[in-house]
């Protein structure tokens, strides 16, 4: 018996990193999983690796039409929809002075509005039969990062968007829960790209490592375990919460 038997999950950003790991782990616990991403090649590969309990759909979270199609494809493929994992996100270096309007707009469009679009569709569908929405915030949504202005702002918005959605659903008696996971620094392609674009990747890497008292680097599976918990009924009493999985960074 799997912990996620009977669950149908749509995982955005499912082609790599935290999205891919959580898709695999949800499926391993019995969920049927729709992997949604702009990256078709890797997304299809993850779905194929999981097997008959997974499928892939192309999704640009910044496009409403694309969202509508992805949700329709999920319901058609699996006969329902009760878990949404909003993993799609972008990370750009930039302070309030250095970042461009384009950086700002794209970050907000993907990280915030993309999550908002997903929540809106999920609530509309799930309010009848219940469900669980898991949004990826960040420790950067709790404490600001000087050189992560747009990213911090966007993740702070996701953190409170989550609570607002949670309260809205709960107050209406709908069994739709909405929670955020706030990861620390996790070894993902997004992070690799971020460091690769820095002037001194090694120095920045070491500075980031020092943020986490535990002294180990987080892997996508560390976040996947929390996503499984929030997706399944073990967390039926949990809504509007922010689950920090960060090697102790926020403890001090």
């Amino acid at each position: 018996m799997g912990r996620c038997d009977g669950k149908v999950a749509l995982v955005t950003g499912g082609a790599s990193g935290i999205g891919a790991a959580s898709a695999r782990m949800l499926a391993a616990q019995g969920a049927q999983v729709m992997i949604a991403d702009r990256d078709t090649a890797n997304g299809k590969a993850v779905a194929a690796e999981i097997g008959s309990n997974a499928a892939f759909v192309a999704l640009d979270v910044a496009s409403q039409d694309s969202w509508d199609a992805a949700v329709a494809a999920t319901i058609t493929a699996f006969g329902g929809w009760n878990v949404l994992v909003n993993c799609a996100g972008i990370l750009r270096h930039g302070s309030i002075e250095s970042e461009t309007m384009d950086d700002w707009r794209q970050t907000m469009e993907v990280n915030v509005k993309g999550t908002w679009r997903g929540c809106k569709l999920a609530v509309a569908h799930m309010k009848a039969g219940g469900g669980s929405i898991v949004n990826l915030s960040s420790i950067a949504g709790i404490e600001g990062g000087a050189d992560l202005c747009a990213y911090s702002t966007s993740k702070g918005a996701v953190r409170l968007l989550t609570k607002s959605v949670a309260l809205y659903c709960a107050e209406r008696g709908w069994q739709v829960r909405c929670n955020s996971v706030n990861p620390g620094i996790i070894e993902t392609p997004m992070l690799e790209t971020y460091f690769a674009e820095r002037d001194d990747p090694q120095a920045e890497r070491e500075a980031w490592d020092r943020v986490m008292p535990l002294g180990i680097r987080g892997e996508p599976e560390d976040i996947g375990h929390m996503i499984v918990y929030l997706a399944c009924d073990e967390s039926r009493l949990v809504t509007g919460a922010e689950m920090v999985v960060d090697g102790g960074a926020m403890a001090r």
Partner: protein, 255 residues
């Protein structure tokens, strides 16, 4: 059983009832060997009987340091190591506000909830270090995050547990001893502690409804809601989690 706690040895205080009992049951179901402690011997023995050969009960007063020493020794004698400590022994006092506060009530609540947890953390670290790491789980409360006028000592003690947890987590991280320390903040739960309080009231149903309405999900949780989080924090699934406060509260603190 899927073995999420395979080969782990756990010590659960307050194991005679409520969260403690249900946590012990879940940990054992997933493969752990569990020592349950409590002042309530009948309840503790009852929990131990539910666990069968996977568990045993020992009477423990968590406010006494010599009792902690003896309890840890008993766990090591029986199971040879300690991987998980669940500090769930706790007391609450009703109608305890800053004007009517009573010295004896304050001391009791602070001793059990805060000093008891502090002693547990202190005494668990050495055996966990020898075991190559471990997980300490402290039961805080949503009343560590929000105030309640009539729960003065309880709020103060649980606020203390919340930051005690983070300090221990940072210390252990700095020591690179692979010991994690996290808190769980439950909402109001329908366990013995709340039942006793409700039973003491004339308007039991009215107060139950008022408390349930404080939780946006509209109902009170039960011990298993907390035990599931205990399970996550006790297992290696949470190996990257330390110093965190995991809120399981029906949305109480979301708004």
């Amino acid at each position: 059983m899927s073995g999420r706690l395979k080969n782990k040895v756990a010590l659960v205080t307050g194991g005679a009832s409520g969260f403690g009992r249900q946590s012990a049951i879940r940990l054992a179901e997933e493969g752990a060997l569990v020592c349950i402690t409590d002042l309530n011997e009948a309840g503790g023995e009852e929990t131990a009987a539910m666990l069968g050969p996977r568990g045993f009960f020992r009477r423990q007063d968590v406010t006494r340091e010599d009792d902690w020493t003896a309890t840890i020794k008993a766990v090591l004698d029986r199971f040879a190591k300690l991987d998980v400590l669940v500090n769930s022994a706790g007391v609450a006092a009703a109608a305890d506000n800053i004007e009517d506060a009573d010295d004896a009530i304050w001391d009791l609540v602070m001793d059990v909830n805060l000093t008891g947890t502090w002693l547990g953390c202190r005494h668990a670290i050495a055996p966990m270090r020898r075991a190559g790491g471990g997980s300490i789980i402290n039961l805080a409360s949503v009343l560590a995050l929000k105030g309640e006028g009539g729960a003065l000592a309880y709020c103060a003690s649980k606020g203390g547990v919340r930051l005690l947890t983070k300090s221990v987590a940072v210390h252990c991280g700095n020591q690179r001893n692979n010991i994690r320390c996290n808190a769980i903040c439950p909402g109001y739960m329908l366990t013995g502690m709340l039942r006793d309080f409700l039973d003491s009231l004339n308007d039991r149903e009215g107060e139950h409804a008022r408390i349930a309405a404080m939780h946006p999900l509209g109902r009170l949780g039960d011990a298993d809601d907390i035990a599931q989080m205990v399970l996550y924090l006790a297992s290696d699934e949470s190996r990257f989690v330390t110093g965190a406060e995991m809120i399981v509260d029906g949305g109480f603190t979301a708004g």
